[in-house]
Amino acid sequence: MSEATGRAPTVAVSRRRALGAIGAGLAGAALGGGGAAARAASAPLGFHNAPAGGIGPAPMRLLNGAAPAGLEGALYRNGPGHFVRGGKTLGHWFDGDGLVRAFRIANGEASVAARFVDTPKRKRDESADAFVTGGFGTTGRPGAGLANPDDANAANTSLLAVGDRLWALWEAGGPYGLHPETLSTEGLEILRDDLAHMPFSAHPKVEPDGRIWNFGLDFGAARVIVWRLASNGAVEAAEVVDLPQAAYIHDWAMTRTKLILPLAPWIVGSRRPPFVANLDWRPEEGMKILVIDKDDLSKRRTYDAPAGFLFHTADAFEEADGTIRFDACLADAPTLDAEYGAKVMSGRPLARPEPVAAMFALRPDGRGAIEKTPFAGEFPRIDPRLAGSRRARLYAAAEGAKPPQGSYRFSAVMAVNWDKGEREIFDFGPDILVEEHIFVPKPDDAAGGWLVGAGLNLKAEASELYVFDAERIADGPVAAWRAPAPLPLGFHGVWRTG
């Protein structure tokens, strides 16, 4: 596969820096969580401990614009919320206890609430006042009593709406059920008795009709389980699939008929924590891309590609001639390895590989190509109505013209249009750390939709909520609200209407 950068998109850029200057932050003290005084001196904003009891629900203050008519529901987001115990910082960003945040928009107003997922890991670490549970990049304490992966489950990476519940997802164990109104933890979901403690990744793919597909990586064993669930979470099938190499896999992609597992040459050696320390970057081995038929998982094809690393895909689709395309945020090397995953929590500037928006093409004759843009970003998303279908746009948090000074570099929102070969960007400027923005379709089958996402205003020391018209990203948010406290930076979310 050759790397093609020929169709370098032209750039339609609009930079604005309006929101950061609007208004002073409300004091966070009323919620017990905000303000520098409440944070450990060593913990920078965004990587600070959230209050143990969570925050809110509390109203958010409208900064500008107005909630669009028809946008009613909640953006639920998950991400690590506890970084320092007993004076010591976690070994890796990915090991913080899951903090689920609900940003609700109703009747033109917004509110925020957040609660920790009540896991055995959190209970054990809390009672020890130390990070005794081993994890992705945390060594843990010998004899911590881990009987199975769910004893170390941080439930901290993403969320899936299943029936009347939310599932808080990690990647090496099962989902944790949460009540979507109270955010209270209902417990580990055993999807089927004989599949207890099997891994369920943080990136399930949902077909337009609601059927859920996911994989779970047997870390170090060159195999995954492929899950197929009904929209209500009932297991329809679960099958073990062997991989060509013991690669670490965080995310995958799905067309109407195919499952695509991108296997970066980040290869697992030993299985003892900290797991990330066992990952060996072997660029000379290149990337392998495994394509599996959804109807018959024994029908597999492997494509060879140049070395590269991706945490996240946007989506995948097939073209009439059988070409499979998927887009992703692709870097030259792992972006949060053992070193970066620890250092990022210091908040200090960190030179590390940058993911950029890229489109993979896998041709029926076995060849392929990667079209790499110069546009740095992460947390790619699409219009969920177009999952598995040909579509032009990828949305992501992006690097702006003048990135923030700290370890987290995204301060803009972008829409890459693959058909037009251009992108739109709205740049908040270096004082706002921009998190994942997700596409919320307009109701009643209307065309278009909104991008809804969170950010952390470093000057105001408060989290913010933004709504963009997905067709007009460069115009900036059509509505923005400010929370009365800063929340740690999160990873992934889900929108629930109503």
């Binding site: 004899g143 004989d194 403690h197 099997m198 389980i225």
Partner: protein, 152 residues
């Protein structure tokens, strides 16, 4: 990510442990004998607790048979079972709660146990089963007590 003891390792000790040295063979020592009262804590969900008592590190590690073994039908959350007429000395227990009563420690497709298990001395696995030293208990002449908490 394999954080746990493999089912095979536990099963090697526990599930094949339904034969043991006869009491007659163990009675060669004319001295004082020991007994062990075991409190079995489970979720009370039925099935059986499969409990194997080992008298040395080798057999505990899977290379040899347990000194004693017992199957306890589970009907309540707290039950008791006893081993009597034991030679005083060091022992260790591997056990599992055979919830579905199929006589095996069931495992998921990646080999991790899907049924609860417990070791003596409150020992917990840490990326593998606890070793003999962690699970070892000393039985003195007379009465001894131990708790196996499968619901911990």
């Amino acid at each position: 990510m394999r954080l746990a003891v493999s089912a095979a390792l536990i099963a090697a000790g526990a599930s094949v442990g339904l034969h043991w040295r006869s009491a007659a063979a163990a009675q060669s020592d004319p001295g004082a004998r020991a007994s062990l009262d075991i409190t079995v804590k489970t979720d009370g969900s039925g099935g059986a607790a499969m409990i194997a008592l080992y008298a040395d590190a080798e057999s505990y590690g899977g290379d040899g048979e347990p000194a004693r073994a017992v199957r306890v039908e589970i009907s309540e959350k707290v039950q008791t079972v006893s081993f009597d007429d034991l030679q005083p000395g060091d022992y260790a227990i591997r056990s599992y709660h055979d919830r579905n009563g199929d006589g095996e420690l069931n495992a998921n497709p990646f080999g991790l146990p899907t049924e609860p298990f417990a070791f003596s001395n409150g020992a917990r696995p840490s990326f593998g089963p606890p070793g003999w030293d962690a699970a070892r208990i000393e039985l003195k002449a007379g009465d001894n007590a131990e708790t196996l908490d499968f619901d911990a």
